[in-house]
Every structure is written in C-alpha cells, then in structure tokens.
C-alpha cells in the first residue's frame, strides 16, 4: 500500500486553505485550478503526484494521502 501513485489522492483542507494560489501557480501539470475564492480544485487525471503543492502550501492545507485516508 506504499506510495503507489495510483492510490494516492490530493486532499484540500478547506478550513485551512486561504486561497493564496501558490499550489496552483507552481503545480507543474496545471492539475489545480482556482475556485472563485482562490482555493484549488484538483484534477486527478492531470496530477502526477509530485507533491510540490504540498511542499509549498503555507497553510498545511493541501497534501497527498492514500485514498480513503483522513
């Protein structure tokens, strides 16, 4: 069940997210797009599970988890 890309999903904690747009701007695959409040919507297909969104989010609001976790 390790870091199998296929089973990992990107989660956004809407309570933490402040819609700063950093994850969206630095997603190498444009897998994130902003809602009207600036918070990201994730595209499962485009995403390569690189973790850059998680790495740079200043609000601990976006991260990869094994599907079904959290």
């Amino acid at each position: 069940m390790e870091n199998n890309p296929k089973t990992r999903v990107v989660v956004v904690n809407e309570k933490f997210c402040k819609g700063c747009g950093i994850c969206i701007a630095f997603c190498p695959k444009k897998a994130l797009t902003p809602q009207i409040n600036g918070k990201p919507v994730w595209d499962n297909d485009l995403c390569i599970r690189c973790g850059l969104c998680e790495l740079r989010c200043p609000d601990f609001a976006i991260y990869l988890v094994q599907e079904g976790e959290e």
Binding site: K15, K18, C20, F26, C57, P58, D59, F60, Y63
Partner: protein, 271 residues
Amino acid sequence: MSNGRELLRLNKMPHIWCPGCGNGIITSQVLRAIQELEWDQDKTVIVSGIGCSSRAPGYLDFSTLHTTHGRALAFATGLKYANPELKVIVLTGDGDSAAIGGNHLIHACRRNIDITTIVFNNSIYGMTSGQYSPLTPTGSLATTAPYGNIDRTFDLSQLAVAAGATYVARTTTYHTNQLRDFIKKGMQNKGFSVIEAVTHCPTYFGRRNRMGGAVEMLNWQKDHAVPIRAAERLSEEELADKFIIGEFHNKPEPEYCERYAQLIANTKGQE
C-alpha cells in the same frame, strides 16, 4: 513524505498568517526536518520572540515558549544550558533577531551553544504592519521609510559567521527542499546554527513595494537568489540586485554546554 502536520496542534489551526505568507512554508519545513531526524517530541523545545513569525511555536506540538521581542535566544540559552539534554530550536524574525535581538544573536554565536536558529527574514516588521527592519534593502519602501529606506542593505548571515556560529546558511521559501536540508544540517550541527530563510510578506513588504502577491514574490526569489558557487563567477554589478544563497559556514567547534559539563566534571565535589 509529509508536510509535518502530524506535529501540528491541529486544534489551533488555521494559523493567523495572511493568505500566501511564507511563514507557513518555513514552519512546514521545520516540522519535516524534525520528523526526518526523528527528534523526540517530548525533548524538543521551540522558542520564539515576538512577531508574525514568532507566532509559529503556538501551532507546534512540543514544549513551546513565546517570549519577549528580541530575547528568544536569551531565554533559549538559559533553557538549553540548564538542561543540555533538551533539543532547542529558535524561530525568529528579521526584526526580532537583527534589530532588538542582535546582541543576543551575536553572543549565542560566540558561545556556540547548541541551538538551531531559523530567521524568518521577510525584510519587514510584519506584526506591526510594515516598518522597515535592519534587513530591509536600501531603497525599499516601508511605513517608516515612506521615501525609501536609507539604511544600507545588511547581511545577517555574514554577521553570524563573524560572530562565531558554526553552521550558517541562507536560502528562500522558494527553495523549499534546500531550506529543509539546511535546517536539518543546522539541527545536526552540535553547536550554534543560523539558517536565514528569506521569505515573503505579501501583505506589507510585497504590497508596499508593488511586488505582487505571494506567487510573484516567490518568483522574485527564484530570479534574485544566486547560489554561492555561481556568485563567485559574477561581477559586483551583476550581483547588485541579487542575493546569495547557500552554506556560508560549516565548521564544528567545541560546544558551550559541553565545555561547562567538563568544568563541572573537573570541579564537582571539590570543597
């Protein structure tokens, strides 16, 4: 890998920082570093002064100490010295460490006490809404520098080296992995370490200086940070609007608490 959230006090989140503020990026790297080095949560103390950045410890699930403006290192010195088995990290701002706290920084460097200090350098006093700090570059605007800052651009890392810190490095919130790497090296250094993390304050520094939002400021960092090796090949003019990132110093020397432990060992029971 994780963003370190396992070590957060989740019930205190979301944190008070503005949208896009770099403080959270640095904090996340600190937590990841602690995780990767497997430091004991119960033996790790995180100390800060006063400032936006200094609010970080409140969100971190350790023994945490939010002190007075500029004095974090003095509190931390007492803590560490009194119980050397504690691991001590100090989180501080550019104002906190370089303005009011400059003296404690020098003396912690000089003693080489085993504390890892991470300076959140956003080039501004964030908490008090945007006055210039000693690390605000010449010419930048701030509420107390409405006509442009006349102070000279100041190099805190260089000061730390001269004062005797045994590990000194600088990088940015853009260079996130490098930042974590430097923090880890600082934590592993048995002695005093300074990691200057250049970060972005979109609310005050960014807005006043028309630098755009968080994303633009991160890109600015990418464009203006020059690795130390590369800098060596550049002329002064080429470097004029740039700043240097990398490891400036990494040379272990006898640590303060250990030297005192030796003194106790030599003296104890003498009467």
